[in-house]
Symmetry: D2
Subunit: 415 residues, 4 copies
């Protein structure tokens, strides 16, 4: 099964925006292999604009010339991904990542490059043209590059099949498809033909849908056609959206399960925004989350069983960030629990529980959502005799109670 457990990995967006390069990817892959792999991290994902030769920041440039093959399939910009020369695309980079024992992922936008449609290029492996597949009225609200496809046209399926064939040749293990998860109902059918293209391409690929919020009332469609899907718009290092994630997690937790995971988005920890002009400003190049907030986030993501995608430039991790990402007992929640429930969420605090599937007790988490220190006590309905708090390692035999700093969290393994 693809995505038996919530996928874990790294994604280039939070640190390198639209300007990610091969060199950066290799360095992050190296770091992951050395420091994170033992804890379950495995996907190395190249995010948006890898086909754009002139992208230098996190912004998009309208009417720019994208690199593509003669069939209108985007290929890596050679000035940014030199190993793609000679038509090898992401093949060499995927091979490198695989050589480290990791898996390789890429970002795509739904649809095809606008210019491929205007030029009337042929679709590989078919008798159709790009113009027959593209929908001139289906554009992305925030990126100028693509036309969505007319999902009911055979030409549209032919185009998606052709690009996933190419990704399979490259050795891609993970595709993050963008401009689609919150585009219900108009993109519902397009999700299906993308998913079919991924399943039929001859290689196992995780299909991840962005950006959110995906609509809760389409949960079953998402569970059927995707392996993970975003439940929020882009998530960054700010407290308010982190606090708001509790409400989203409450609604989505019942939809997490093998093969289909609600995605609370990347973890904006460590070195961020490395491609921004303002990186020079103090603090702008590093996460604005406090250490407490980072524990809070990790705890919630793990209780929800959200996929975990580190967003920072990994080689720049400090000791805290590395420790945060390598707390084995906390990460283990993702693989051993099920049926996570919030007990309650108020403006001041929240408590969650998650039974273990093996019947060996359960997890209980306490969150201080207020802006003052606060004692939070979790009272699970189930009995237990001992509990270990997983961030501090402290054991207790009494109530699950923690005096938490603002925005901090505690999580116990209870037996």
């Amino acid at each position: 099964m693809i995505a038996q457990y919530p996928p874990m990995g790294w994604n280039s967006w939070d640190c390198w925006g639209a300007a990610v390069t091969e060199d950066t990817v290799r360095k992050n892959a190296d770091y992951m292999a050395q420091y994170l792999k033992p804890f379950g991290w495995e996907y190395v994902v190249v995010d948006i604009q890898w086909a754009q030769p002139t992208a230098k920041t996190h912004e998009y440039i309208p009417f720019s010339e994208l690199t593509m093959d003669e069939y209108g399939r985007l290929t890596p910009a050679l000035n940014r991904f030199p190993s793609a020369a000679d038509g090898r695309g992401f093949g060499p980079l995927a091979e490198y990542v695989h050589g480290l024992g990791l898996k390789f992922g890429i970002h795509i936008m739904r649809g095809m490059p606008r210019t491929a449609a205007h030029k009337g290029l042929p679709i590989e492996g078919s008798e159709y043209t790009c113009a027959a597949a593209a929908d001139p009225n289906s554009i992305c609200a925030w990126n100028p590059d693509m036309y969505g496809l007319r999902a009911d046209e055979p030409a549209a399926r032919a185009y998606y099949d052709s690009i996933f064939r190419l990704y399979a040749q490259w050795g891609v293990d993970f595709v993050k498809c963008d401009d689609i998860a919150r585009e219900y109902p108009r993109c519902e059918r397009e999700i299906e033909i993308i998913s079919l293209a991924a399943r039929n391409c001859g290689r196992d690929m995780v299909l991840s849908l962005s950006p959110g919020p995906a609509p809760l009332d389409r949960a079953e469609h998402l569970k059927t056609w995707a392996n993970m899907w975003r439940i929020t718009d882009d998530f960054w290092d700010e407290w308010r959206p982190l606090k708001g994630m509790f409400e989203r997690a409450e609604k989505w937790c019942v939809h997490a399960g093998p093969g289909h995971w609600p995605d609370a988005d990347m973890l904006p920890v460590g070195a961020l925004r490395q491609c921004y002009d303002n990186t020079q400003e103090p603090g702008k190049g590093w996460t604005a989350f406090t250490q407490e907030e980072q524990r809070c986030m990790m705890t919630l993501w793990c209780m929800l069983r959200s996929p975990l995608m580190a967003g920072g430039d990994l080689p720049k991790n400090d000791e805290f960030t590395l420790a945060l990402l390598t707390n084995g007992p906390v990460l283990e929640i993702e693989k051993t629990s099920w049926c996570a429930h919030p007990l309650y969420t108020t403006p001041e605090e929240s408590a969650w529980i998650a039974p273990r599937r093996d019947g060996q007790g359960f997890y209980a988490a306490a969150f201080n959502l207020s802006d003052a220190p606060r004692a939070v006590t979790v009272t699970p309905e189930a009995p237990f005799s001992a509990a270990r708090e997983l961030w501090t390692g402290l054991e207790t035999h009494g109530p699950l109670s923690a005096l938490l700093q603002p925005h901090d969290a505690a999580v116990w393994r209870c037996e």
Copy 2:
């Protein structure tokens, strides 16, 4: 703790509407004591209009004279509840029910009788008048009897305190407060002062709020101030609302827990609508649910851990109905599980799982929501070695698969 587990009992509405009498209540209590008590059923609840001498059906009569004491507190209509004579109210009937080892409950409307306000009666135990507590603009959309109270006035608290004092004297164990659960936000504060009156009256009382749908986004308020609250409008013996309950259960399941239970409403099984003119019409006096639908309902209610309130006239139960209400292993789900989750719900089928709190396995339920026979298979994430289907008693060691008739359900205890 009040309502440690979801309350179970009988309610007079589905069978006797606005025309319930003391005789009926006693007979149902007798039956419960004899047949149902061993399986956990305990509350005997007198529903709406017990203070209305002329009510003869399920309908309300505008501007009718309600029985009340000199403080504007409703008292049982003597022609219908003879034991209430001499100012003893529901005391004798409660005593009778208690004598059977059961608990006694009553229905109230929020507010006070309109005429109590117009007459300017005094409020018992206070210096206020009813006119000072009543809000002439706060009326019920479907019942003509009452004015809601101005919850911020001390007089309003005095009135609610005065009626709960009376109920405590009578020996009431359960109060179903009507015209309030879906009246957010305007009745939010009124819920609070009713709840405070119940807590402070000197007797343990379950507080149940009706009718639904209560608003999901006020779940924490409901959990704080009530023991159970309706998640739908009145539920009757029709398939469409039963099918629709799956969607509601999916949203509310995370809010079930000790002391606070989302309520899927009475179980319309057995002899219903006994007070209707149309009882003579074939079938109108008996549940329209098929046996399959009744199993489906019981299974869902138990997995959700909804309160269970039988709605039929119990002494008229047939063998099937009695068996339905006394399947011990199914009813046990309510008391032993937690963290119930739907795995999925589609127009054709649904599957749910619920871990046991003691770590001894879990429950898995399969529902055929389609109109044709259908094989439904539940694939839990957790391993198990043996499973027993609780409606048939059949054991299995293979997959959790059942060939289900339309609208039928199966539920397994897996270990």
Copy 3:
């Protein structure tokens, strides 16, 4: 035809609120007869709460005892209207007003007194009871006295017929029915049976509907069943609502015509709020409108052909107020124009035109809606050779241009 031209008169609400008395009415009628009658003013209207003995301000007292006859028909409170003694109701007061050459009007709420329904009183001239006519769910959002009627019940028609019979006996010429004009669609049928009762009562009565805003998309229903209807909520002496009236007038102007007049509400000029506690505060007992704003209001009301109801305590009028209400040429617009149109309305200014029905030219109005002095020029499409400005009397042969103070208006008679 009833209301061939827009009705003109005085109403007690703006000055005396719920506390109007017979003495006040007589004094205002005397003043009108002496000073205003020659200019077309004729209706003397007693507004809300004349049946409430304890009303002393502009506020309503819940659950108060209203004066009524044995048929549940409200009658004047004797302590406030002494001439109503011996069951003569408003007869003597109407007679007094008629003796001055004026007409007499009263305010009613739709429906019947709540207590008439609770007491089960009979309906005069019928076999029905009040309880059979009243709708316990139909209440007014802002006044606690009444129940609306179940308009499809014969008892409801019987009740309305009975009260209009009484008004006809009293000599009422004008009925302002409240809690109804903005209550579409639920009161649509109630409007019709009230209107039928007025038409069939044997005496000509203007039927005026309050409060607004009446819904624009029900204009034809209003034109069919009422003589005037409010186009705003209560209008007071504040600039913002006056400025906002331009937008309303633009939408409603096409619906003004003989027998049916959109009503921009009373003119809050002169001595207002005489019954308020704060009358002692400087300025609270007098209109807050500047003289410019009062001209602006009068000009717009006349161009729109709104009914004109003076709201101040007339005997306290100062020279300006009297002059404002007795500018013959301006008031003549109401009786001689038709087809008024705004030319434009911007945040800064507005211009209106209104042809004369006799073909003798047209009126043109200029409004300064900005907060600074401003030259406003009106450019009508029709030619003219001479024009007289009606507030100043100045004649011009050139462009219709005025240098206006903030919120002031000019209006020309062009030929």
Copy 4:
């Protein structure tokens, strides 16, 4: 003043869709000069897709190659407009139309051709590129050709200025700008810079905005920046939209005046849909309106003072159609009336009045909106001694009453 009176002319859309040719335009111009000009008809307007060489029906072809100059300005497709050869654009055709004593108009879409932006063409007379002016996110919902412009960019003004300069060189007198009138608020600023380009191009041009419905609450903006704007979506020969136009006319009539005219859209009379496949089907190539409905439409359009644009292929006019378009007294309403008002509009009938600006009486119109013959009487508030019905020529001295066939109209000149 541009558009002192409501413009009158012919437009190619209803008959020739996207496939209009030079030959067709010339023939319609010839006809207009010979038969219609004496009655005030003057504009000959080439509607959409004149730059598309392959258009053959009324449909749009995505990703087709449009004819344009080196500055991204669309030019007539030479295979359809041969006189445009040698870079002369519409100059020769305009000259031909002018030679007939008529005026020449063209249709444009807001924005620029998508390919002009993708190719990065320069903007004539400026230092900007098309890519700097185009907004990749601003597309038309129903036509695939164009990108809207980023109205706050100087490049956008430069582009619009450049195209209107070209139109002025060609001799264009009328521009119908499409995809804009109902696109408030997002295109508000784009309307302004198009209007400025038209005003500053050195030639008088009527600016007409399509399609509707334009938003009523932006009436003043429309009056300021455009000469006419559509008040409905595309209007065709169906009774329901014609009946619906009465409600729209009622709301918009106050906004008609010199220089700014609410536009009820083309008159679909005579030979329509000549370019459709289904022209062969009986009746599809001719208006589906009955003669009564055509009189109804003409009467309403004239009373409203809507622009009049004949939509049929003029040379194919039959006798009735020609007579309809050349009833001088009816057409005169457009030029002599003002302040038109509906008296009322019900599902069964409507009545309108419009005073003459010269004080010589007024017009009164009666419409039968029901599906049965019906006597409709108009009762104007103004007196008159004689009246002539303008479709029949019959004179009357009594009431304005007509026995009308279903959907027919009568209109009187009253004095």
